[in-house]
């Protein structure tokens, strides 16, 4: 444990919440984890809930009747928003891992361009796409009632 503290970029459990001196991407990292755990929780419940179709039509219809409750509707909207963020942010992370859409590598000539600066436009595009997906899904869920 002790040797980890000598790395200035190791934020430990504090790093679950705070971004330290890092930029907005660091908060997306936190949000990525929060949405991930949220989706996993929903997913486990969803496995059992959707499995109820094995009990036949009457049970299924009764369960779907319960799901029209505004609390579940609000939950669905939240899960969709979490999905829209987590899916597109995940693609962004894979892009960065593979060095895609972050510009060509440059010689380290002063003044350096930090990796954060080269990644920012990818982040902005990703978040715009994510917001559009949330709007589309939210419109469908709230106004079309699916």
């Amino acid at each position: 444990m002790k040797d980890k503290r000598s790395y200035d970029n190791h934020l430990g459990i504090v790093g679950w919440l705070g971004g330290g001196r890092w930029g907005i991407e660091r908060y997306l990292y936190t949000l990525h984890r929060v949405t991930g755990v949220g989706i996993l929780l929903f997913f486990i419940i969803h496995i059992f809930e959707s499995s109820l179709r094995i009990l036949g039509r009457e049970t299924w219809d009764a369960v779907m009747e319960v799901m029209t409750n505004p609390i579940f509707k609000a939950g669905e909207i939240l899960v969709f928003a979490a999905f829209a963020f987590h899916a597109l942010n995940g693609i962004r992370l894979i892009f960065i891992e593979l060095g895609l859409a972050v510009g060509k590598a440059e010689d380290p000539i002063y003044p350096y361009r930090s990796s954060i600066n080269t990644q920012r436009s990818l982040m902005i595009v990703t978040m715009i796409l994510s917001a559009l997906l949330m709007i589309a899904g939210g419109y469908d869920l709230i106004f079309l009632g699916h």
């Binding site: 430990g12 755990v37 496995i47 179709r53 779907m64 669905e76 693609i91």
Partner: protein
């Protein structure tokens, strides 16, 4: 080496989940606008549409793959977060084993239901 393998599968399962879950979301939450997937009135979760997908070979296979990929991706992600608690080596191994068992159990539940519904004899429509 093992951790590298776990991580690579985490990325691969994430990509698989992206595409199949994307399709799932198109069907369940965006089809009100698109109107291409659910043939019976009332949206993706009315019984007729649910059974139609359950009986379809394509959706059975796609959803079982999604189940496995999403469970692996989710539990690996959770494990990454929990390992940051700084627990001991033995506790880490126990946690990994527990998450594997839970994931496999959930996979078996979902796969069993998926296959059983395909051959369900009850009148469907």
């Amino acid at each position: 080496m093992k951790e590298t393998g776990y991580w690579t599968w985490f990325i691969i399962s994430g990509l698989i989940t992206f595409f199949i879950l994307g399709l799932h979301m198109l069907i369940v939450h965006l089809d009100g606008m698109l109107g291409i997937f659910s043939h019976a009135d009332g949206g993706a979760v009315v019984w007729e549409n649910v059974i139609q997908r359950s009986r379809s070979q394509f959706f059975s296979i796609a959803y079982i793959i999604l189940l496995g990929a999403a469970l692996y991706h989710g539990f690996y992600g959770l494990r990454t977060i929990l390992l940051e608690l700084g627990i001991g080596k033995q506790a880490q191994q126990r946690l990994t084993k527990f998450l594997w068992l839970t994931g496999i159990l959930l996979f078996l539940v979902g796969t069993y239901v998926s296959l059983a519904v395909r051959t369900m004899e009850a009148p469907i429509l």
